[in-house]
């Protein structure tokens, strides 16, 4: 767009040179005078009573300054259920749960001291999956659950930490009138966040007893609030500052090791660094929720979708963390981006003796979308319809209402579907080699961007350049750059005149989190509003200075205010700001606070438990994947992926393409290979030598397609793109495998062995004459 200065331009990341030259400062690069190094003792049992923890030998080791156990950190915390302590107290509930923390003069000493701690346990029977956890008489993980403080205190069955229903219409009755009803059960695995940078923190106490924590995190404010809660401190005694973040994907949304580092610093009076090894990070952090999704969908012969029911069981692991919200959101999305009048989605999140599950790019949506979009293909196959046609026939459009009643102000879904279909069908390749079968699969997705509150402060410096402070942490997706572009556009200055402040709870205004694909949309709204505030104040000065009415003024590129229609009659931001700082009115500072307000239409929708209604603005996208299946080994090679997303308006097309490519890569890992496998009670592959994350050589060409239907409420029309690209990949690949071979898989990841087993079963069926 020629009429813009900054928005719509694919400029490189502001921090790219620092990252590429190794000068970017990550938490492990921080060194403070007198700093100690910390290490954790992790539990070697999935479920056990802690009989004793003898730290005397560890404390006696020269160089050891402090050893903490669960008794030092008695306060429970948790966003939905206060069920977790920083170190296990009395009971360990997953293999790898931190039991003790040591600070010593150097890391080798800290690790040696960890080895000297003698912890004794009394093993308890464990429950390693939801079926075991929900069985009558199953061991209970949280015996005191009833006494825990909870956001919603309704009674729940044993080992259940959340239960939710979202429904509209009458699905059961509607099935009776359908021509076809297809039912399936789908299962998904624990995917590990696998950010490049393991979790860590540096904590330091100042002379007033206030603790400052530097860490890679998704929200300095959540770190501040949770550390204060876990350590029973007023929030004013905790300051959190973001470091450069080496990826997060939801895994750094809640606290990681910040509370332990903070208490070690408080006890020793010295700065403490605690950075997890990759192995300890695998064992003690988080995964995506494993899910079992039972879906039934009813349709008419022409492909019109009529009713859908979803029964979702999420394995939440040992602690609730965000499970309640993940469940509620998954159920909100489970209908899919279609006009289906009758839906009933119910679900529960269950405690098991596994690593706690957490929000992970997509937040429950990849699980239900895998199931739902696989089933759309199954219906199309049953009815003999084209898989894109059936989606287009039912696709939501601008003006339609989502479950809960929210009206869609912008929706480019049909355009996304047509774009990936046309791109995929335009490709011509030579036929596959003998023994290989080829097919193309599709999926459609919806997601949201929005959620809760955020704010921005925009300061005009004396020379007329700007400092933008939003408290929003850039996790590597490029939000600092995009927000600077929005700010630059709003005030018509070059991007390099905008300084982006490091998020710091002392200096930054509140921002809920970098999550929910919300920063461009929500923080962008706060930035445009703060910029409007600045503009108004600049105009007041300019009107005085040029003796005209503010209403006659306009911004001119390069940081100037001029009288509309009178070329040459203008004052620069510098002159205005000098006047403001030294003569009249005081410094120009713009501020804004925004909130995405929730709620739902109770006349239309039934909601129980942690049901979520209005949460954000809806975004839409579609994928196509072409695969080749090796009949002899079951190996699936993805040849190409096309991924189209309606982003409202691409503030930075390069960054949007990057988000799409990265999300598709992560989605391919989820589809085909990533899985934290448990060998009984312990993870069998807690290292990158055994847990496969796709790297560049493993990836096919990924073709981002940007669709732009401006969102009236978005900054310059923009919507979010952080999570959407990961969501529809697994079902597109699954549907491509079905197109190639006829086998309809229902379990992720779709490993060569699973594919081969399904191919063999299909062969046996057709030998029996029972095949279709």
């Amino acid at each position: 767009m020629a009429d813009t200065l900054a928005v719509g331009r694919g400029i490189p990341r502001l921090e790219a040179p620092a990252k590429l030259t190794g000068r970017a400062v990550y938490v492990d690069d921080i060194r403070r005078p007198g700093m100690l190094h910390a290490a954790l003792l992790l539990a070697p049992h999935a479920h056990a009573r802690i009989v004793s923890v003898d730290v005397s030998a560890a404390l006696a080791l020269p160089g050891v300054r402090c050893v903490l156990t669960g008794d030092d950190l008695p306060h429970r915390f948790g966003a939905f259920v206060k069920d977790e302590t920083v170190l296990a107290r009395g009971t360990v509930r997953y293999f790898g749960e931190p039991v003790a923390a040591v600070a010593a003069d150097d890391l080798a000493t800290a690790r040696a001291a960890v080895d000297l701690i003698v912890a004794t346990y009394e093993d308890r029977p464990s429950v390693m999956d939801p079926d075991a956890a929900l069985a009558p008489g199953a061991p209970v993980l949280h015996a005191d659950f009833a006494t825990y403080e909870r956001r919603r205190a309704s009674p729940l069955p044993p080992n259940v930490c959340a239960e939710t229903t979202i429904a509209e219409g009458d699905a059961e009755a509607a099935f009776a009138g359908c021509d076809v009803v297809v039912e399936g059960v789908f299962e998904t695995q624990p995917q590990v966040h696998c950010y490049l940078e393991p979790c860590g923190a540096v904590a330091e106490v100042d002379d007033r007893g206030r603790v400052t924590i530097w860490s890679p995190c998704q929200s300095v404010f959540r770190v501040q609030a949770t550390v204060a809660e876990a350590l029973d401190l007023p929030m004013s005694r905790v300051r959190a500052i973001a470091t450069m973040v080496g990826g997060a994907f939801g895994g750094k949304s809640d606290v990681t090791v910040q509370p332990a580092a903070a208490l070690l610093a408080m006890r020793t009076g010295r700065p403490v660094k605690l950075v997890l090894s990759r192995n300890d990070d695998f064992l003690s952090m988080r995964t995506r929720h494993p899910a079992r999704v039972r879906v039934r969908t009813g349709a008419m012969r022409d492909g019109t979708l009529v009713a859908r029911t979803v029964d979702l069981t999420l394995d939440g692991g040992a602690y609730a963390e965000d499970s309640g919200a993940v469940l509620g959101f998954a159920l909100l999305m489970a209908r899919g981006p279609y006009r289906i009048p009758h839906v009933r989605c119910v679900g529960r999140a269950v405690y098991t003796n596994r690593l706690r599950a957490a929000g992970f790019r997509g937040y429950g949506n990849p699980q239900v979308t895998f199931a739902g979009e696989a089933q759309i293909d199954d219906i199309a196959a049953r009815l003999g319809l084209d898989p894109v046609e059936i989606r287009l026939r039912n696709a939501m459009r601008t003006g339609d209402r989502w479950v809960g009643g929210q009206e869609l102000a912008s929706c480019g879904l049909t355009e996304c579907l047509e774009a990936v279909r046309d791109a995929a069908r335009a490709v011509r390749r030579p036929p596959p080699a003998p023994g290989r079968r080829r097919g193309t699969g599709f999926s459609a997705i919806a997601h949201i961007c929005g959620i809760l509150s955020t704010s921005a402060v925009l300061k005009v410096l004396e020379d007329g350049t700007l400092t933008l402070n939003t408290g929003a942490v850039d996790l590597g997706e490029g939000s600092d750059t995009v927000l600077a572009q929005i700010c630059a556009e709003a005030l018509q200055v070059p991007v390099d005149r905008v300084n982006f402040a490091v998020p710091d709870t002392d200096g930054s205004p509140y921002n809920w989190s970098t999550g929910g694909s919300r920063v461009t949309y929500m923080v962008g709204r706060a930035v445009t509003a703060a910029a409007a505030d600045v503009r108004e104040k600049l105009f007041a000065h300019a009107a005085d200075m040029m003796e005209c009415a503010a209403i006659d003024l306009e911004l001119r590129p390069g940081g100037k205010v001029g009288i509309a229609g009178v070329p040459g009659r203008e004052v620069g931001f510098r002159a205005i700001s000098m006047r403001a700082h030294w003569a009249v009115g005081g410094p120009v500072i713009g501020t804004a606070s925004v909130m995405f307000e929730g709620g739902f239409d109770p006349k239309r929708t039934e909601m129980t438990g942690d049901g979520i209604g209005r949460l954000g603005t809806y975004v839409f996208g579609a994928q196509a994947a072409e695969v080749e299946v090796d009949e002899a080994t079951g190996e699936v090679r993805v040849l190409e992926v096309w991924s189209a997303h309606d982003v409202g308006r691409a503030i930075n097309p390069l960054a949007v393409a990057g988000q799409i490519q990265g999300g598709v890569a992560q989605g391919l890992g989820y589809a085909l290979m990533e899985d934290l496998v448990y060998d009984g009670e312990r993870p069998a592959n807690p290292s990158l030598a055994d847990y496969k994350v796709p790297g560049a050589p493993d990836l096919p060409p990924i073709r981002p397609i940007i669709v732009e239907h401006p969102e009236p409420t978005g900054p310059f029309g923009a919507k979010g793109i952080g999570e959407p690209p990961v969501i529809g990949v697994a079902p597109a690949v699954r549907n491509a495998i079905a197109a190639a071979t006829g086998v309809r898989l229902a379990v992720l990841p779709m490993t060569p062995e699973r594919v081969l087993d399904a191919l063999s079963a299909q062969e046996e069926r057709s030998d029996d004459g029972t095949g279709d």
């Binding site: 080798a108 192995n279 002899a632 080994t633 190996e635 290979m673 496998v677 060998d679 069998a684 592959n685 990158l688 030598a689 055994d690 847990y691 496969k692 493993d698 060569p752 062995e753 081969l756």
Partner: protein
């Protein structure tokens, strides 16, 4: 990692002397297995003796019609060697598909076979090509070298100096890679020399083994179709998070066929 003393001798005799003196000495080639083992604190040697400066262990050459590869030849050296590509191209190809570029630039043939990892690639080539392993003391025939999972015929402190491969008429390797490490879930090396065919399978069992039924079938009819009628029992094959024994049994056949096709 625990602390240890590090040595870098310039000759085999110095290395042997250092090893003799050390309380618990360990030889180091490229460190690709050894260093991770130390990092995980699964071993606690007092001394590391780095073989990297010993000229006698280096080099790749043709000698009396055979291919001789020094123990310290790196995978990348073997993959790029004109001598290897000319004499046994299948071996260069095997080396080129080990791990990733970092591993290939550090890992060595001597370290690989001394380690005798059940999923390593080289053992299949050593056995199928009927190579001999030369050490400071003796030569060991391929069939006698690999004695079990992470076990070899090497004695305590016995240093491998070189591996000697007789030239084969046809030889090729096919593997199904572990997606993460790229070790072999199953690898098959087939070689035909004169009338004799050898088929060695790695990754499938605790140690590399010869698949004698396939050898007989291929001796009678050197073609991928010769493998079709054979069956592989899953009993005793490895089962882990990467693949079940049944899946590996299928791969033994598939990879052997692919190796025969590749050998031409």
């Amino acid at each position: 990692m625990y602390s240890f003393d590090y040595h870098k001798p310039a000759s085999l005799s110095d290395a042997a002397a250092l090893l003799g003196k050390a309380e618990e000495g360990k030889l180091m080639a490229g460190g690709q297995t050894l260093i991770p083992t130390l990092k995980q604190r699964l071993a606690r040697p007092t001394d590391l003796i780095d073989l990297g400066a010993i000229a006698e262990l280096k080099g790749i050459k043709e000698e009396g019609g055979a291919l001789v590869i020094g123990a310290m030849a790196r995978h990348a050296d073997v993959a790029a060697s004109d001598v290897v590509k000319r004499m046994i191209p299948g071996l260069a190809d095997l080396a080129d598909n080990i791990g990733d570029a970092q591993v290939r630039n550090r890992g060595t043939i001597g370290g690989s076979i001394a380690n005798s990892d059940p999923a390593a690639d080289y053992p299949s080539a050593i056995v199928a090509l009927n190579a001999t392993v030369h050490t400071v003391k003796r030569t060991i025939a391929a069939d006698a070298f690999f004695t079990g999972m992470f076990e070899t015929a090497l004695e305590e402190g016995e240093i491998i100096t070189a591996i000697r491969f007789p030239r084969a008429e046809k030889a090729a390797y096919a593997k199904f890679r572990n997606p993460a490490s790229r070790y072999a879930v199953v690898g098959a090396f087939v070689a035909r020399t004169g009338g004799s065919v050898r088929v060695a399978i790695t990754g499938a069992a605790p140690s590399v083994f010869r698949w004698t039924e396939a050898e007989a079938a291929l001796s009678a009819n050197w073609s991928a179709a010769a493998i079709d009628g054979l069956s592989v029992k899953a009993d005793g094959l490895n089962a882990d998070i990467h693949a079940s024994a049944d899946y590996r049994a299928n791969l033994v056949k598939v990879m052997t066929k692919r190796a025969v096709l590749a050998a031409g």
